[in-house]
Symmetry: C2
Subunit: 593 residues, 2 copies
């Protein structure tokens, strides 16, 4: 079945849960007109349903091919990419000086969800280009920008990010690709990179590679890494394409999912070295990487949201159609649609509410990152930057965990049919699996949350957020709507667990780092479950008072379900954070036995 | 990498956690010599490592082929099957009167784990044959047994179980396959079955199909279903093989996993009707199915344990070998193996402890089922039967949930390599996915637990079990071993949650069935987490007092980890059971919006 962007849910999350409307009203978005969000999302939804969604299964079945140093994508994909750039979707949030529409990241975040939901393997390509644009815009020389940036913004050329090598995955500092300065000021790069997404393809004339490498005598580790721009085809002075550069796809991976997205081994230097241009300063390549890391991680979190929503829509349709068994107490003769069964309802609600929570967390991250660059007031910008930094690992890890869990339930609702590839539920399950691994594994996100984000300012970012969330919970507690059930009590408990766990970790992050690290993953889950629950409750309250999202009571039920089933886990997770470090760190006795 | 059966862990679980040793001492196993368990498992482990494990990946890559009405299995598979029957592994628990070794189900359960771990798609074939043996042994006529049972026990012929039709999955009563009595007392069967595991293959000369069908004018629903034995090739009076019967594979499924196990659409009646023999009485086919359901569900639970252990072994080896990053506070120059990182330790401990808990629950189920038929005392048998019935849905659903979760973590520990098919971690992840669906979805297991097993005798089976588990917890509480950490307190809390949730559900199962049904899945999880935690604690105590399982402290750490990370979830799950029914049953407002 196809995919329809859930515009009402998305707008409620964007405007109210994530606070876009309030930020616009406060003037933090300059002259951006918040009203255009709805129109952009409507159009994006149409493009996704009409052009991208129909190619999702084709891409999975056909995959990609490598021959004669060239990657060929699945039938229909190059054409869809042309339509994508022609319609301007690549340029939504690109810098206006280089042809972009300069729309907020928050709008692009909602669009990214839509691209990922309709066709996650397709959407991944522009996600990488976006990172390239960001790195080049922030750190590139005027000349490099002039030649490359407009083409990347329009999408006429795509970008790649090349960090990983066989011995250097999570530990980027271990990379060995070499760069040497040539007499003309350019560099010659030799080495091999692995796991390079869209490292080669046939959808554009040229590809702009961003490659991390080491100069001779560079310091060891991450302090000796430089970033280079390496075009696939050299660009002549008049902007026309020139010689083939010495960077080639030498292998493609056979993967569990994302079959349509080429994952390449890239070889540089077989013909003397790839010609590259330094981006930023020598040995400061990691700085350039950090610049774009927030946005890239948020992008992957949105992939989690997108795949979850796609899996949900498909499971819901199946549960409404498939007849099997009868409802408890049913007197009728025929079978009922399986959606009548409470256990099926539970699964669907879990899928929908977890998706909604992850969506709002991701959108709120985007709003914070927007304000951190758009607000006039420096203090507002600084606070928003801290908020964005805090939320980013949660947006990435919690949302992609949820993407996997929801896709799992999507298969489950289909029963035996879910295990059959033609049904399509299994593709979402396979495709989702990489999202909790790439762009920093979810374990690394948890460690980032505890050791950098929580600890950054003595916990101030967390205490500030808890106070805000507490205000939402107060609104639930004082609401007279019985449909909220025990939502207020559950969220209040969860906030208490979040606060105590945060303190416990803060007290140990320096003095007993292994104790804090042992609790990082359950802490991130606790954080996401609490934050998501409060945000959904806030959305329900907003829906009730605004009435602009259809029947508001369904948002109350959704918030209630999440609080009573997901946020409620915070109290148990708190005990895990505070009580299980000894067992974890005493693991050698078990594991090495 | 290959697979090694964890004999020490298995024997500790079997003898102590599951209580085999105590039952043997109490005389419930007749003259069975408990000491032979170790020898059988050692030999099974060798066969699995040498013959089955090497074919696991071949089977996944090659899959099966259907052409000219015949299924061909992967290279090496028919030969491995010959070695399997020649070594006597098919006959471990088969009836002695028909050439079986008559060993307890508990021993066969441990073997089933080993077959599933080494090659789950292979192990599935004898699992189905076992069900066929059970149905035929319990309900078949003397003549049918004489012709077919010995061949099934030895494995010279395999068996299939054919229930499912497109409109009749979980709702077996909706099936439409027709059977008509012929003049000679046999039946002619016409219809189509789907999802038939090993419905055809080239590993044996003959296949014995057990097919559910309806006689003309049979009552509607499950009360009008009869069971028929339909040989692929007719058997002549002298036992030689005769004509091809009218039952053919007409399609095979393209699946997410289990590629080596053919899943067939079976067509009967294109040539006048398949010749079948009635098993049991007319219209009593569901009774025959129920006979073997416990054992089949336990078998699938053991698949969950097996795939979990396989995924764990592979992840552990990778974590010991892969070097990336450094331990907190490390002063060395080089990278450390990733197993030093607390977050990786956490994942490995979670994998190992969840696998161990599921293993013991499954073995305990097997011991109960053994005692229910082997004990001399009728009261002992009846109590064991109730215990076995109670534990079966937990053994099936909790263990297969865990199989999926552990396989997920196995991919995660491999990082980007986990997403690459050649690594092998992804195969376990794909293969595991069906186990929570087939043989009754895990949702159906939960409903069975709440509506039949918990409610069967006013909760007496559950109260009896809680009392036993409470005794174990008391031992932990009074133990002076600080390595238990907060295990005692966590398990005590979990038992309280189990008791309160059980009472809450019992009070509603008849009066408010939808409230009880809404809590079924979290209740089963709560039950498994509590039961598993207590059993692992019991094993740790046994290991300490016996000293027959190597260093006992690793079992203490393992039990502690499970209690502090998994059992601790019981308190949150209790709240979900008791507080979320309104949200679940109010879902229509959300889902149909």
């Amino acid at each position: 079945m196809t995919y329809r962007a859930p515009i009402n849910d998305m707008l409620l999350a964007l405007n109210h849960g994530a606070g876009l409307l309030a930020a616009v009203k406060a003037g933090h978005y300059g002259d951006f007109d918040g009203d255009i969000a709805a129109a952009v999302l409507e159009e994006a939804g149409k493009f996704a349903s009409d052009v991208l969604a129909p190619l999702n299964r084709v891409g999975d079945e056909h995959g990609i091919k490598l021959s004669d140093d060239k990657v060929t994508t699945a039938p229909g994909w190059p054409d869809a990419y042309q339509r994508w750039t022609a319609a301007g979707w690549n340029a939504v949030s690109g810098p206006e000086a280089f042809g972009g529409q300069g729309l907020p990241l928050a709008i692009n975040a909602a669009c990214t969800e839509i691209w990922s939901a309709s066709n996650i393997a397709f959407g991944l390509c522009p996600l990488l280009t976006l990172s390239a644009i960001e790195a080049l815009d922030a750190h590139g020389s005027g000349e490099l920008k002039k030649i490359y940036l407009e083409k990347l913004v329009s999408g006429e050329w795509t970008g790649t990010m090349q960090l990983t090598e066989p011995q250097a995955g999570s530990d980027v500092g271990a990379l060995r690709t070499r760069a040497e300065k040539a007499a003309d000021g350019t560099y010659r790069i030799k080495g091999t990179k692995i796991f390079i997404t869209y490292g080669d393809h046939d959808m554009t004339d040229n590809i702009v590679h961003f490659v991390l490498a080491r100069l001779p005598d560079a310091p060891a580790g991450t302090k000796g890494i430089s970033l280079f721009l390496i075009p696939k085809l050299m660009v002549n002075a008049d902007g026309s394409l020139g010689e083939r550069n010495d960077i080639y796809p030498s292998g493609v991976e056979h993967k569990l999912g994302m079959h349509a997205s080429p994952t390449c081994t890239m070889t540089m230097g077989d013909k003397g070295g790839a010609i590259g241009y330094l981006v930023g300063e020598e040995n400061r390549g990691m700085l350039c990487m950090f610049t774009m890391m927030n946005q890239a991680r948020l992008g992957v979190g949105l992939e989690g949201v997108g795949i979850a929503d796609r899996a949900y829509q498909q499971a819901l349709a199946y549960a409404q159609e498939r007849r099997q068994g009868r409802a408890a107490g049913s007197k009728g003769d025929g079978m009922d649609a399986i959606i009548v069964h409470p256990d099926v309802k539970r699964m669907l609600l879990q899928m929908r509410s977890m998706t909604a929570a992850a969506r709002t967390i991701c959108y709120a991250t985007a709003v914070a990152l927007d304000i951190s660059v758009r607000a006039k007031d420096a203090k507002v910008r600084a606070e928003a930057a801290a908020r964005g930094a805090l939320l980013t690992p949660i947006a990435k890890a919690f949302s992609t965990d949820i993407g996997n869990e929801v896709a799992y339930l999507g298969v489950q609702i289909h029963g035996g049919m879910g295990f059959i590839e033609e049904t399509g539920a299994a593709q979402h399950y396979r495709d989702a699996r990489i999202t909790s691994i790439y762009e920093g594994t979810n374990g690394i996100q948890s460690i980032d949350l505890v050791t950098r984000k929580l600890a950054a300012n003595g916990g101030a970012s967390v205490w500030g957020l808890i106070e805000e969330l507490s205000g939402i919970v107060k609104q639930v507690e004082t609401s007279n709507d019985p449909a909220f059930g025990t939502t207020g009590a559950k969220l209040r408990d969860a906030l208490g667990s979040l606060e105590r766990s945060s303190k416990w970790l803060l007290e140990r992050v320096t003095s007993k780092p292994n104790d804090a690290l042992a609790g990082a993953t359950p802490y991130l889950r606790l954080f996401g479950s609490t934050l998501g629950g409060c945000m959904l409750a806030g959305e329900a309250i907003a829906a009730k008072s605004n009435g602009d999202a259809g029947d508001p009571q369904r948002y109350v039920t959704l918030a209630r379900f999440f609080a009573e089933n997901i946020s409620v886990q915070a109290t148990s997770l708190e005990k895990t954070v505070t009580d299980s470090a000894d067992a974890v760190n005493g693991a050698d006795a078990v594991l090495l036995a």
